[in-house]
């Protein structure tokens, strides 16, 4: 039988993989892809919670799914802006290596 734990563990694993990608990739777009994976993991968790919710009846409170819709919306907006920024930085510095964007160092 499927339980909530399945989806939570799946979400946790995906979140960690996405986090690894966000921390350790040098290409800015790869970092963005890691962030997209993290957001997807969170979405899965949200929808899982809404499905396994026994307190309220299914028909009226799909809170988790509404949350997932908004996450998708914001993720799309954020991806657009982030990619615009990456392109702008690429034009200025001719690199998309995040390791070289360190003007705020000591």
């Amino acid at each position: 039988m499927l339980t909530l734990n399945h989806f939570l563990v799946l979400g946790a694993i995906l979140f960690c993989i996405g986090l690894y990608g966000a921390i350790s990739k040098r290409n800015a777009i790869a970092v963005l892809m890691g962030i997209e994976i993290m957001l997807n993991a969170v979405n899965i968790t949200m929808v899982g919670f809404s499905f396994f919710d026994q307190v309220r009846p299914y028909s009226t409170h799909l809170t988790g799914q509404i949350f997932a819709i908004f996450i998708i919306t914001v993720a799309a907006a954020e991806a657009a802006v982030a990619l615009a920024m990456i392109i702008a930085i690429y034009r200025k510095r001719d690199t998309v290596d995040v390791g070289e964007i360190d003007m705020m160092k000591w």
């Binding site: 979140f15 997807n40 028909s59 997932a68 799309a76 907006a77 802006v81």
Partner: protein, 174 residues
């Protein structure tokens, strides 16, 4: 095991494998394609959870728009001719450790905390006749009655507007 569980495991394994491919492959375009698989499998999982609208929206937005955005960005920021266009930095070892610990923490909290929710789902529920997932979400989002998410909806549209304007401004060439 029953059909739902089997399908879940298939989708989950492919999902995790594709995610690993996203962070692991040397060629960044390959990673982008693996990302599409991730999105698709996530949509499958949503379907399993009786969230058909979310699944369709996932395919439309993520697998459709976001992926194309990423591919366009890759095209515009090509660093030519390198063998490895998706390198990792020096701190990948620490990153592995940290991610493993964070993951273990979440799993532990989910499984062993006092508030762990380990109950069986009633996915199909007591849907009234004529109401499917899309209708239900539509009612929640737009209804003028007391419990509705109209305000977040309006704010989200504003966010999108700002994002569009911002992306255009930032991405201008001058």
């Amino acid at each position: 095991m029953d059909l739902a569980t089997l399908i879940f495991w298939i989708f989950a394994v492919i999902l995790v494998g594709a995610a690993l491919a996203v962070v692991g492959l040397r060629n960044i375009v390959h990673s982008a394609l693996a990302l599409v698989v991730v999105f698709a499998m996530a949509a499958g999982i949503y379907v399993l959870l009786n969230a058909e609208f979310i699944a369709i929206v996932q395919i439309l937005i993520y697998a459709g728009a976001v992926t194309i955005l990423i591919l366009f960005a890759l095209m515009l920021t090509r660093i030519g001719g390198q063998a490895r266009t998706n390198p990792t930095n020096r701190l990948w070892g620490i990153a592995v450790v940290i991610c493993a610990l964070v993951g273990a923490t979440i799993v532990y909290a989910a499984a062993y905390s006092p508030r762990a929710v380990a109950n069986v789902g009633n996915g199909a529920g007591q849907l009234p006749p004529g109401i499917n997932n899309v209708v239900a979400i539509g009612q929640l989002l737009y209804s003028p009655t007391t419990y509705s998410y109209v305000l977040p909806f309006e704010v989200a549209s504003l966010v999108l507007l700002v994002a569009i304007v911002g992306a255009i401004v930032i991405g201008r060439e001058d």
